[in-house]
C-alpha cells in the first residue's frame, strides 16, 4: 500500500480520473466543484491531456460526447444547476451508447438555490437524467478515498456497459480533506471498435447516432439497451452494511449523510437501541437485494437524506412497504445532525413492524 496523502475530495477524484487514463476534461466553473476543474487545468497540460473550459455546461457535455465518440475516456463535472443543463447531453450519451464519467457535487436547489451540500438531485440522477428511457450508473462516495476509487470504477463500468457513470457527491465530500491512497492497481481498459476515429480506408463507416424514425426499430434499441441495464442491476448493486446483523432499526443513507448516521448509530447503541446502517454505494442500481433482505429482520427503517425525501421511495420499493419507513431529512444546504438522526431512530424503535 502506497503512502497516503492529504487531499480534498474534488482533487482526489480528479487525480484518480487521470490515473484511469482520462486525458480529456471538459467543464465549466460552478461552486462547490470548481476544484475539479482547477486541478485538471493544472495537471492536464503537463501530461499531454486536454483541459477545456467550455462556454456552457451544455457545450461541455457535448464536447464529452465528441471525445467519447472518438473512443477516449472523457469526463465533466458540475454541480446541481449545471447538471440540469447537461440533461440533454446525458440523454444523447445514453441514446448513442457512449461511456462517460459525469460528476455531480450537489448543492441545494431548486433554481439557483444555494451552494451548501445537498442530496436533492437523487431523482435527477436515478430517475430523470434527461428525456427518454434510460439509466445511468450512479455511484455515491462517502469518503475522499471513495471519491478517488469511484472515479476509476466509474470509468470501468461506463466502458464495460457503454453507459454514463455519474458520481453523485456533495459539497462536504468535495471540499473535505482526508488521507487518501492513490495506488489503484491495474486499471481495466476496453476495446471500442464502434468509435468514430476515421475508417482509415479499412472498414465501413462507424456511425454514432441516437436517431431512429422507425418506431419498431427504436423500440428494439430500447429493449436491447434495457437488457444491458438488467445485467447492471444483477451484477453491480453495492452497499456497505454497518451493524445491521442484529439491528431492529435500519437507517439507509448515502454519502456525507451516511457518516452523520454512523455517529447517530453509535449514540443509539449506547442507549441500548439496536440500530444499523445500509449505505447504498450504487444509487442506480439501488441495492434492492440488500435492503429487501434486511426487511426480514428489522422492524423499521429510517431514510436519512439531504432532500425533502427522494431516496425514501427506493427504500419503500425495495421492501415493498413491508415495514414502516421514517424520513429524517434536512434540505436547502442543511445537514442533519447526529442528534436529529438519533431522535428518528428512537421513534422508529418504538414502532411495531412485527409480522
Amino acid at each position: 500500500m502506497s503512502e497516503k496523502v492529504l487531499m480534498k475530495g474534488n482533487e482526489a477524484l480528479a487525480e484518480a480520473a487521470i490515473a484511469a487514463g482520462c486525458r480529456h476534461y471538459l467543464g465549466y466553473p460552478i461552486t462547490p466543484q470548481t476544484e475539479v476543474a482547477a486541478y485538471m487545468a493544472k495537471r492536464m497540460p503537463k501530461i499531454g491531456g486536454t483541459f477545456l473550459q467550455a462556454e456552457s455546461e451544455i457545450a461541455a457535455i457535448n464536447m464529452v460526447i465528441g471525445v467519447s465518440s472518438a473512443g477516449k475516456r472523457a469526463m465533466t463535472s458540475s454541480s446541481s444547476p449545471g447538471i440540469a443543463l447537461k440533461s440533454e447531453g446525458l440523454s444523447y450519451l445514453a441514446g448513442c451508447d457512449l461511456p462517460a464519467l459525469v460528476v455531480n457535487v450537489q448543492r441545494g436547489g431548486p433554481g439557483l438555490g444555494g451552494i451548501q451540500p445537498s442530496q436533492s438531485d437523487y431523482f435527477l440522477a436515478t430517475r430523470a437524467g434527461g428525456h427518454g428511457d434510460f439509466h445511468m450508473i450512479v455511484l455515491a462516495p462517502a469518503t475522499v478515498q471513495e471519491m478517488a476509487d469511484f472515479a476509476i470504477k466509474g470509468f470501468e463500468l461506463a466502458d464495460k456497459y457503454r453507459m454514463v457513470t455519474m458520481i453523485l457527491a456533495d459539497g462536504v465530500l468535495g471540499q473535505m480533506m482526508e488521507p487518501v491512497s492513490l495506488d489503484f492497481g491495474e486499471i481495466k481498459q476496453f476495446d471500442k471498435p464502434w468509435a468514430a476515429v476515421g475508417t482509415n480506408g479499412g472498414r465501413r463507416h462507424n456511425i454514432v447516432n441516437s436517431l431512429c424514425l422507425e418506431p419498431t426499430q427504436l423500440e428494439q434499441w430500447n429493449i436491447d439497451r434495457y437488457k444491458r441495464y438488467e445485467q447492471v442491476m444483477a451484477n453491480e448493486q453495492r452497499a456497505e452494511e454497518y451493524m445491521t446483523d442484529d439491528a431492529d432499526v435500519i437507517c439507509v443513507a448515502y454519502g456525507a449523510t451516511a457518516r452523520v448516521t454512523k455517529n447517530a448509530i453509535a449514540m443509539a447503541r449506547a442507549k441500548g437501541i439496536k440500530a444499523g446502517l445500509i449505505r447504498p454505494i450504487t444509487l442506480w442500481p439501488f441495492p434492492k437485494k440488500i435492503v429487501g433482505a434486511a426487511a426480514k429482520k428489522a422492524k423499521a427503517f429510517v431514510s436519512v437524506e439531504m432532500s425533502m425525501g427522494q431516496m425514501i421511495e427506493d427504500v419503500e420499493l425495495s421492501i415493498r412497504c413491508s415495514r414502516p419507513v421514517l424520513l429524517c431529512n434536512r434540505s436547502g444546504g442543511m445537514i442533519p445532525t447526529p442528534e436529529e438522526v438519533l431522535a428518528k431512530i428512537e421513534e422508529a424503535s418504538k414502532m411495531g413492524g412485527a409480522d
Partner: protein, 254 residues
C-alpha cells in the same frame, strides 16, 4: 469500353438522398465529398451531422459520422478534434441549428480557433419541422410562424453569421457562397475545399456559409426558388470572403 466522364465522389455513399425535389443539399453534399476526395482525407475524416433536414448526413458520407444534438455540432466537433487532433472534423449544419439554438457553440468554437471545418447551409427557414421562421428569415418573409411576413418590429432582424463571426478574433476563414448557378457552385466548391485544406494545414476555424433554397417550404418551383434566392437572399447576405487570416499567402483568397 466507354469512358467514365462523370461519377459520384468516393466520399459520398451510393444511396438515394431523402431531400425534396429541387433542394440544394444534394449539391452541397457533393461539394463536401469532392473536397474530401480531392484532399485524400476520407479515412481520417469524421463528420458531425446536426439536427434539421440534413440530420441524415450520417448515412450519406463514407467517412465515420457522429450525430449531434440540435445546435451542439461545434462542441461535439471540438471533442472529436481534441481527442484525435490528426483527424479532419467537419460539421454540416443548417441555419436554425447553427444560428439560433447553437449560437453559443458556433461563436465559442470560433473564438477558440478550433481547427475544424463548418459547412453552414442557410436557406432562411426551418425545413425539417415544416417551414418556421429561422434566425436568417428575411424581413417580410412568410413562414408558418410569421404568417403575415416577418415583422422586424415584432420578430427582429436576421442574424448575419459571416459578418458576426468576422469580428471574432479566433476565426480563420469565413466565406459566403451560393449554389444557385454554375458560377456560384464553382466558387462554393473552391471555398469548401479551402475550408478543409485550412484544417489539414492546421490553420484553424473555417466556416463556409452556403445560401441554399428550400422550394418546398418557400412554396416555389425549384427554378423559381433559385430566382428568389438571387433576388432576395444575395442582396441581404452578400457573397464573398469575410475573413481570411492567410489571405496574403499563396492559395489565400481571391
Amino acid at each position: 469500353m466507354a469512358n467514365t466522364v462523370f461519377q459520384k465522389p468516393h466520399a459520398l455513399c451510393d444511396v438515394p438522398l431523402h431531400y425534396c425535389p429541387g433542394c440544394t443539399h444534394g449539391i452541397i453534399h457533393r461539394l463536401v465529398a469532392e473536397a474530401i476526395d480531392a484532399l485524400g482525407i476520407e479515412g481520417r475524416t469524421v463528420g458531425v451531422a446536426s439536427v434539421g433536414c440534413s440530420v441524415f448526413t450520417y448515412n450519406y458520407f463514407e467517412c465515420d459520422m457522429v450525430q449531434a444534438a440540435h445546435g451542439r455540432a461545434p462542441a461535439v466537433a471540438t471533442g472529436l478534434k481534441r481527442a484525435e487532433p490528426n483527424n479532419i472534423i467537419f460539421t454540416y449544419q443548417g441555419d436554425g441549428d447553427l444560428a439560433a439554438i447553437g449560437t453559443a457553440e458556433t461563436v465559442h468554437s470560433a473564438a477558440r480557433g478550433e481547427n475544424i471545418t463548418i459547412i453552414f447551409v442557410n436557406n432562411a427557414i426551418y425545413g425539417m419541422t415544416g417551414g418556421q421562421m429561422a434566425p436568417t428569415t428575411l424581413p417580410g418573409q412568410v413562414t408558418q410562424t410569421t404568417p403575415y411576413g416577418r415583422d422586424p418590429q415584432y420578430a427582429g432582424l436576421p442574424v448575419k453569421i459571416c459578418e458576426m463571426l468576422s469580428q471574432v478574433d479566433g476565426a480563420t476563414y469565413l466565406e459566403r457562397v451560393a449554389v444557385d448557378s454554375v458560377a456560384h457552385i464553382n466558387q462554393a466548391k473552391r471555398a469548401i475545399e479551402k475550408a478543409f485544406r485550412n484544417q489539414v494545414e492546421g490553420k484553424g476555424f473555417s466556416l463556409v456559409e452556403v445560401l441554399s433554397t428550400c422550394p418546398t417550404n418557400w412554396g416555389k418551383e425549384p427554378a423559381a426558388a433559385m430566382e428568389w434566392l438571387r433576388e432576395n437572399m444575395i442582396p441581404y447576405y452578400p457573397l464573398g470572403v469575410y475573413k481570411d487570416k492567410y489571405a496574403d499567402e499563396k492559395g489565400g483568397s481571391k
